[in-house]
Symmetry: C2
Subunit: 297 residues, 2 copies
Amino acid sequence: MAALLDTERARVNAALAAVAEEAVEDAPAALGDPMRYALATPGKRIRPVLCVSAWRAFRPGAAPDAVYRLAAAVEIVHTYSLVHDDLPCMDDDPLRRGRPTVHTVYGAAQAMLTGAALIPAAVRVLDHAAASLRLEAATRGALVVELCRAGGAEGMVGGQLLDLEGEGRPLGADRLERIHRLKTGALLASALRLGALAAGARGAALDAVSRYGRHLGLAFQIVDDVLDVVGDDASLGKTAGKDESAGKTTYPALFGLDGAQALASSEISAALAALRDGGVRSDELEALARYVLERTH
Amino acid sequence: MAALLDTERARVNAALAAVAEEAVEDAPAALGDPMRYALATPGKRIRPVLCVSAWRAFRPGAAPDAVYRLAAAVEIVHTYSLVHDDLPCMDDDPLRRGRPTVHTVYGAAQAMLTGAALIPAAVRVLDHAAASLRLEAATRGALVVELCRAGGAEGMVGGQLLDLEGEGRPLGADRLERIHRLKTGALLASALRLGALAAGARGAALDAVSRYGRHLGLAFQIVDDVLDVVGDDASLGKTAGKDESAGKTTYPALFGLDGAQALASSEISAALAALRDGGVRSDELEALARYVLERTH
């Protein structure tokens, strides 16, 4: 799995660099520079890797470059959310993965505009990649609507707002789950759906991938909470223990470390069952589910 | 013209209210409320009115509701830019059109998220309206790409960043024109192109509408600069004299009031000539061009 992840990340990073140039091509340099800087933030690339693996679940073999560019569109949306999350009016983080955040280098107003500019850029990259794959125009439209839904008010941004609202006060398990389903789960599940849709999956198979994605997304977030408690700064690439000092309710706080780990494990079982029940066979998606559970950073 | 504008604005406002409900339907209330509040900001609605008029230039007669919803998508993008422009890290404006700004009511982080959530919402509203009009899937894709280009790094956001960069230092006429072509002109011209594209315009006719839009957009901004000097707060619905106190270079500062007015007038002549040369006959677009020149608020 580690070898596959390394290879896939390298291809995702190459695609991301290529679409970053495409996205800033006609932008003034003062905006193109921070956009390029934001898109070069190192990351696990878990969303685009899932997107490509979902494609391959229906189209076995090497995926064409355009699939990686399509997957990169999801990472652009993720990146914009990080740029905004780090701003002084949000988490006020000077560093991300050991690297000065966009507003630290370019200023808060510039970082806000940079984040906002990444949203339409992601839509265009997605549509362009879909055109390169010669997908039917109707499918291309469906992909754009899917990404906008996941990255919008009823998905990621809705989750960010609920998260903000919940800081500094105790939350119940239902509320915590809702926040994470929206904030992290929606885009992660969408990455999988986009790959599957582009590969031609429909009906029960597409539903199975969606359910897999929702369970995987929640497990991913629970593990993130656990790592925030047990991890160290160096391997996490961010400050450990941040959740507690920010007064955030977390899974370990609600269920204890073992309880949280057990919950993550049961979500992963549900994710794998969803694939099985939908008749989707993919060694890669199964391995990725185990990776999400066992990752240490 | 005043009567047409009033009627059209009423229909645009009704469409905007309808699509606002559609956009916040599945959003958490904590995000849906500020989104709805932002979209209810009063405004001239010049962009959507232009969009519908461009449609009617090719499809005379009453436009269906879906055309107004399509036009409302452009106003959603414009609205997001206002929400972000008003933020403390940008212009720090407590009021817009006499009404507390989004961040004044809901907080800065919430307003930033609200603005960001409006971008994918606009894309979905546009795609949905295009589907209601039974446009071909390829045209629907072209509309989405058009709006994202105009509202993105090589359009509006690029212009906002150049504007920010230029504050407090003297700019030449070329630089000022570039800022305005991007910041205001791109979305205004795009509103026209979207209406024309949806109505089936292609080739020389579409180019003519684009050129009309670019000249109109620049004239609109020059008149804005003039009104900032000669207007009063009450009729403008904002603080007059703001440009000078913000240290912004303006057309009147560069060319004097008469010089700026003459420039606006020549842009309007060029806009009308573009329509004529492209064989586009539209009393409405001609009247709107004169309105842009003669408006007092």
